[in-house]
């Protein structure tokens, strides 16, 4: 087996992660690596445990077993399984979006993006005390934060609506805003939970462009869950396939696309065909061995 790019310089290493809810094993001994500067896609049929993996990575769940190791570009490493969720986003710089969009709907677009820069601004305001008294460089820092927010509003082409409430936006724009908000935290790894869900083909194409832009110009690594195969095959560099909480395939999009186990998982097969595929697999593993 050749070593792939993501094995050499992984931003995220998931090792033997298992997540049990009572008797249900949602994720079973999952091991994979997400390469730095890659778009890694996590795919699989409904109920395969993709979102559970996401929640483990971002600290919303604590995995029953296993290690989650995040390596920054400067070499700092974080053991995500031991950190509370807000530190994973604040310190380890893992940002995420949600399957059902979670914007601050009563706040304006600009405010949404300013809240995302909370930690930096909090320090600049001298933990609020300096900001209230008007000492320290809070004003300048806030201006900087506004500039950053404006930069991202430009990127998602919503600058004109900066002062409108986020809840007023159409669905596709809300998805883009959620991504921009996550990017405003300055993440090392951006985790997107079904970013293309509910988008029309044109919006979906725009999303691809945005995500490629994030990878190439911001040099942020992406990890995404996606059902839309056109998005997955078009933009991802590396695909990991889950079924019933277990990894069944891991490789480049082209490799995964032709993997008989993936095809079987997605399309289902006749009993005869299962036998045929199993025989083939035996042959394959025989060859590999």
């Amino acid at each position: 087996m050749t070593t792939e790019r993501w094995d050499n310089d992984p931003v995220l290493t998931v090792e033997h992660v298992t997540m049990r809810f009572g008797g249900l094993v949602a994720v079973n001994d999952l091991t994979f690596k997400a390469g730095r500067g890659d778009i890694t896609a996590l795919i699989g049929p409904n109920g395969a445990g993709k979102t559970t993996v996401f929640n483990c990575i971002t600290g919303f769940y604590k995995p029953t077993m296993g290690r989650l190791d995040l390596a920054h570009r400067d070499g700092t490493r974080y053991m995500l399984e031991r950190m509370p969720d807000f530190k994973i986003s604040g310190k380890a710089k893992v940002a995420r979006t949600f399957q059902n969009i979670r914007l601050f709907s009563g706040m304006t677009l600009l405010e949404n993006l300013l809240v995302a820069q909370h930690n930096a601004l909090m320090v600049a305001s001298g933990m609020t005390v300096g900001g209230i008294l008007g000492i320290g460089g809070y004003r300048a820092k806030e201006k900087e934060a506004m500039e950053r927010a404006k930069y991202w509003l430009d990127k998602i082409r919503l600058t004109a609506r900066a002062d409108d409430p986020a809840g007023d936006l159409p669905y596709g724009a809300q998805r883009r805003l959620e991504i921009a908000r996550a990017m405003c935290t300055g993440p090392e790894l951006l985790c997107l939970d079904e970013p293309a869900a509910g988008l029309n083909p044109r919006e979906s194409a725009e999303l691809n462009e945005l995500l490629l832009g994030i990878r190439d110009t911001e040099r942020t690594s992406l990890l995404l869950i996606e059902h839309d195969m056109s998005v997955v095959m078009e933009i991802s560099d590396h695909v990991v396939v889950l079924e019933y909480g277990t990894k069944i395939s891991d490789g480049t999009p082209a490799f995964v696309q032709n993997d008989p186990r993936v095809i079987a998982a997605y399309l289902g097969v006749d009993d005869e065909e299962v036998e045929k595929v199993e025989k083939q697999l035996d042959v394959l593993t025989g060859e590999a061995g």
């Binding site: 807000f86 706040m107 305001s125 609020t128």
Partner: protein, 461 residues
């Protein structure tokens, strides 16, 4: 279009329907007011409860209800039906208050507040002004301040705190006990009371951090009761339900307001009157309330204030953005409690007497009602609601002319709670999100546009 055409072309009011409507309303009103107003229980000489019949008053009320309902359904409802056909989306947009006008109202209101004692004194003289400055001015401003303080916790952070009066009590007792036992002045104890109340806010905050919604409300309610029960039962310290009396008054930087030679009146060669002290207290509570408003307005533009509002909107998203929700909630509790502590120490100094009686659950409920009626998160709305609710109930005492209608034994003050409830139901129907439901954004790129209340969340409790 067809709807409006239909409504306007209708030939005259439908009296038969209106009469039927009025009859129905009359029956309901009789069911409610018959027992409530018509039957009175009184204690006689041998301490027995006897029922006294007062059906005449009840029937008068029923008659008023029927007449009102008749007029409404004959003349008002058909017109409202024609007008109310506007699409709801348009209504939601209309709700947005023009920010420049809001600012103008705020300035005018502020000016009025500063001139209020002067106006009252010039109209009624020093002695006549006492009631208006003390019962109305100071009383309302205390609740405005409490409302603004609770607004941080409920309106901004979205944490429903039903035990807010506990912090008010902490502030009041802190001042009372420290002033009596250690002979410290009000100006030293004001910040101390604030800090102590904030400390108790954090102490309450810790156990309730994991709770949301109804559960949070119940635990805060229990906390309020615990504080009150401790005040009643810790007799050695608090003197139990008898309360603490002869609490020192506030001095104007060392000048006392009394008849002594170095007192305020003598010093400025003025005739002796208690009105000076009341006017002084009025300006003191006004400044304290404005301090609350100023700090809240500043805090909303700070990262912490935005984090509070974000917490109200979506706590999970907050954590995904690296916001420490624990600290954020605790600061909301602490700062809200601090202002209650300030108000409490002012209350103790003004009354000269504190007892657990003043810190019952009803007080918490009134403050929460003020915040909800005013529109959660809105400073002006809360101030208006406090004026309406506290001023309104005080005003009831003044309505002596009602005695002419209902007989000399009628005491409008007894109907306080009934009217209170009716007013709340009415306002919640008319404006379900409070007087000022629109939210002012804390930052803008091009122009400040108010956010419609229908998009703003109430928080998880």
């Amino acid at each position: 279009m067809t709807d409006t055409a239909h409504a306007t072309s209708r030939p005259g009011p439908d009296y038969a329907k209106a009469a039927k409507d009025a009859l129905l309303a009359g029956i309901i009103a009789l069911g409610i007011f018959g027992p409530l107003v018509g039957l009175k229980t009184e204690q006689n000489m041998s301490n027995e409860l006897i029922v006294r019949n007062d059906m005449a008053s009840a029937l008068i009320i029923v008659a008023i209800v029927m007449a009102g309902r008749f007029l409404l359904s004959a003349f008002v409802f058909p017109r409202m039906g024609a007008r109310g056909k506007k699409p709801t989306v348009a209504n939601a947009i209309d709700e947005g208050v023009k920010p420049d006008r809001t600012k103008l109202y705020a300035r005018l209101g502020l000016l009025l507040l500063f001139l209020y004692p002067i106006i009252v004194v010039s109209l009624l003289g020093f002695q006549g002004s006492l009631k208006w400055v003390d019962n109305f001015g100071i009383q309302i401003l205390i609740y405005v301040m409490l409302g603004w303080g609770l607004n941080i916790v409920v309106g901004l952070a979205g944490l429903l705190d039903l035990g807010y009066v506990a912090f008010y009590a902490v502030g009041a007792y802190s001042y009372a006990l420290l002033a009596i036992n250690f002979d410290l002045s009000f100006w030293v104890l004001l910040p101390v009371a604030g800090i102590l109340a904030a400390m108790w806010g954090v102490i309450l905050g810790f156990p309730v951090l994991r709770l949301r919604g109804d559960y949070l409300a119940i635990v805060t309610l229990a906390f309020g009761e615990i504080i009150r029960l401790v005040l009643i039962n810790f007799r050695e310290l608090t003197n139990g339900s008898a309360g603490i009396s002869s609490i020192p008054k506030v001095t104007l930087f060392g000048i006392p307001f009394d008849a002594s030679p170095d007192g305020f009146a003598k010093m400025f060669d003025l005739p002796l009157s208690s009105a000076y002290y009341k006017i002084f207290l009025y300006y003191l509570i006004l400044l304290l309330a404005l301090l609350t408003a100023y700090v809240t307005i500043r805090l909303r533009r700070m990262p912490i204030g935005r984090a509070w509002e974000a917490l109200r909107e979506d706590e999970v998203a907050c954590r995904s953005l690296g916001i420490n929700t624990t600290n954020t909630k605790l600061t909301a509790f602490a700062i809200g409690a601090m202002f209650a502590g300030f108000a409490g120490s002012f209350f103790a100094a003004r009354q000269g007497f504190v007892s657990p009686e003043s810190f019952v659950f009803m007080e918490s409920a009134v403050i929460v009602a003020i915040v909800v009626l005013g529109g959660m998160g809105s400073m002006i709305g809360v101030a208006v609601a406090a004026a309406a609710m506290i001023g309104g109930t005080e005003l009831l005492r003044e309505l002596t002319f009602l005695k002419a209608v209902f007989g000399p034994e009628f005491n409008p003050d007894q109907y306080r709670m009934l009217l209170f409830g009716l007013a709340m139901v009415g306002i919640m129907i008319w404006r379900p999100r409070g007087f000022v439901s629109a939210r002012q954004p804390t930052a803008f790129l091009f122009e400040r546009k108010a956010v419609s209340g229908s998009l703003v969340k109430e928080g998880h409790g």
